[in-house]
Symmetry: C2
């Protein structure tokens, strides 16, 4: 069973739970905005489902839900921010706002963040830059360590994601938001559920050798860096993961992902982020830049497809398709997640807002109940 909720209800539920955890109203509103953006754009791995994980984390690690991010050092083109040991959504929003403001004033803004936490989908933040007619870059270190360096048999990295956005046609920025791993662990888990082998290159067994058995990956084995094994460019995904960690952790002075105390340390989260925005108007008319980005994207979409019924897409297209559909039909949520959130809300003393919205009789939607439960 899947239930659907309009985005405002979906967001308000997340906000209510964060407020019950002690997060000030404004921060809870912004944190929930970031999560709902991910669900609205089909990035469910980084949406409201994260509340389940945050709930686990707060039970075994201090998280400052009343964090007040602050600027440590600043120049006209840069800032170092401290996330004050909280979740990262509010901090990352302020960091990209600062990068955007500096790009407007000086042409470019780089903001490094230390002592922060998980902040949802990177695309939310690089989109902020693209909407301001700027090029945006974001990268972050992560908690979970699942990926060995090429030729190694110990995990050293996580998904270590990278995002790049550029304004093109109106409302259609180029928006790349990618983990530097081949696939997410959820995809490996799905193969186990389906009783299928994985394609070659997705992961390694506990000795670090390539395997197509998903159980080997989940039981002591590893995910692969983008490219997979050494003979198919895995060292490139590994290199990109190091780049992300240099930008996110070494620049900001956050705990290194290779530090034995990473994510186990008593002091809190201490994840590092990197944000950048710059003005294409430094180089040519912004409208000319946007016209060329739009043309490049359109040329790619016009590529003859392998499968005539599956047109070629550009990064950002699948997310926009999800948004258009979900703005109309509501954001879907599986029954398992629905129940887990209900339990978390109950245990936290947060109001439960989601049930009412699945009532098809409240007159706010045109869809029949069969479409509301897909």
């Amino acid at each position: 069973m899947t239930v659907r909720h309009d985005q405002e209800t979906h967001r308000s539920q997340a906000s209510a739970i964060f407020q019950a955890w002690g997060m000030p109203f404004e921060n809870a509103e912004q944190t929930s905005r970031v999560l709902t953006w991910a669900d609205l754009h089909g990035v469910e791995s980084h949406g409201i489902a994260m509340i389940v994980e945050y709930n686990e984390r707060r039970s075994n690690r201090p998280i400052n839900f009343a964090n007040v991010p602050f600027v440590v050092r600043e120049t006209p083109v840069s800032a170092l921010m401290d996330g004050d040991g909280g979740l990262g959504h509010v901090t990352a929003t302020k960091a990209m706002e600062l990068a955007v403001a500096k790009a407007r004033g000086s042409g470019v803004g780089l903001v490094s963040v230390r002592n922060s936490g998980h902040f949802g989908a990177l695309g939310y933040f690089t989109s902020m830059a693209a909407e301001a007619n700027l090029v945006g870059i974001a990268a972050t270190s992560v908690f979970g360590i699942r990926v060995p360096p090429t030729g190694g048999s110990q995990a050293r990295f996580g998904t270590d994601p990278w995002s790049f956005a550029a304004p093109g046609a109106d409302g259609k920025p180029f928006l790349l938001d990618m983990a530097t791993t081949t696939v997410a662990s959820g995809k490996v888990r799905n193969k186990i559920v389906e009783g299928q082998e994985m394609p070659h290159g997705w992961g390694f067994d506990p000795s670090g050798r390539p395997t197509t058995d998903p159980a080997q990956v989940m039981n002591g084995g590893f995910l692969s860096p983008l490219g997979g094994t050494a003979d198919s460019g895995g060292h490139k995904g590994y290199g990109l993961a190091v780049m992300v960690n240099i930008l996110a952790s070494c620049l900001s002075g956050s705990t290194l992902i290779t530090d034995p105390m990473h994510s186990r340390q008593p002091k809190g989260l201490d994840v590092g982020h990197f944000f950048m925005a710059f003005d294409p108007g430094l180089f040519r008319e912004v409208s000319d830049f946007r016209t060329d980005v739009a043309r490049l994207c359109d040329d790619l979409r016009a590529t003859m497809p392998v499968n005539p019924s599956t047109p070629v897409k550009v990064a950002g297209d699948p997310e926009r398709e999800h948004r258009i559909k979900r703005e109309r039909e509501g954001i879907p949520m599986g029954h398992g997640l629905f129940e887990r959130l209900r339990r978390i809300a109950e245990e936290s003393g947060a109001p439960w807002l989601l049930q009412a919205t699945v009532d098809s009789d409240h007159g706010e939607r045109k869809e029949a109940p069969t479409e509301m439960y897909s």
Copy 2:
């Protein structure tokens, strides 16, 4: 047969040929420095062998060997340069020098380049930033179009490379220099020569479907973006290739790689590049940053290896190993390339400098002749 030459002789030969083609002395010296750097660091695909390709290009396309790159627009943090229709080595050197100077003055420098040409290995330029205690980024559009977007059956991209460098331990920067394809076409060609199948994911047949037959790739088929097929992250390598083209071509106003006139147009080369340098001192003490980069790299090298005799490496390590060996033993060159360069020098009226250096009796080296011809 492989001959070896000390790097100064190797470089002087390249310089002599460029001068015979009409390149002014200083420009020929710098262009040859960039090529020899690649050979010295084991990146033979971007070294003196490129002279064979440049020689072909100049026969069917105007190249301005007396190009004088110039700054079109400038701010304290940025510049747009025009490469004046020449090869890119001198232009790219000036562009990264400018990015470094701006990073020293303002903390960050972004330089976009239009109307340029092939410039050798990106790592040469990002290394310039790292040697100046800065973080460096470089990207460039390319000539050859060999790669389809994910799900497409027409080539739209080339190798579209990306480089990132950061200073760490003395003389050991982190140095990533990668094509955004899975492998270079040379590796596919080698599989044909060896009569072997390719690993899954290296390339596509002419209809855009995955194949393990290298002949299919070379006869109308395509190389794959990093990640390979759609189910193993190929859309990420595809996304990185678009990012590189936005930074290199859309920012500078160079001809788009998807333009039907790209690399066929009458006006010249018009390849675009992107360079960036920034000061980690914007965020914390540079020495602390470098200590953390060095620690991260050392932690990675200390990872338990899959194969005990093959330690884990960090991007930049293999190139340094080549350099140490080749500074001692000379730069190797296959007989085929040696003969082709000799013919080009003869046809161009350039002096031929390489032969004398393989004479083991000239007293400048300690190695026996058997080591000089490996």
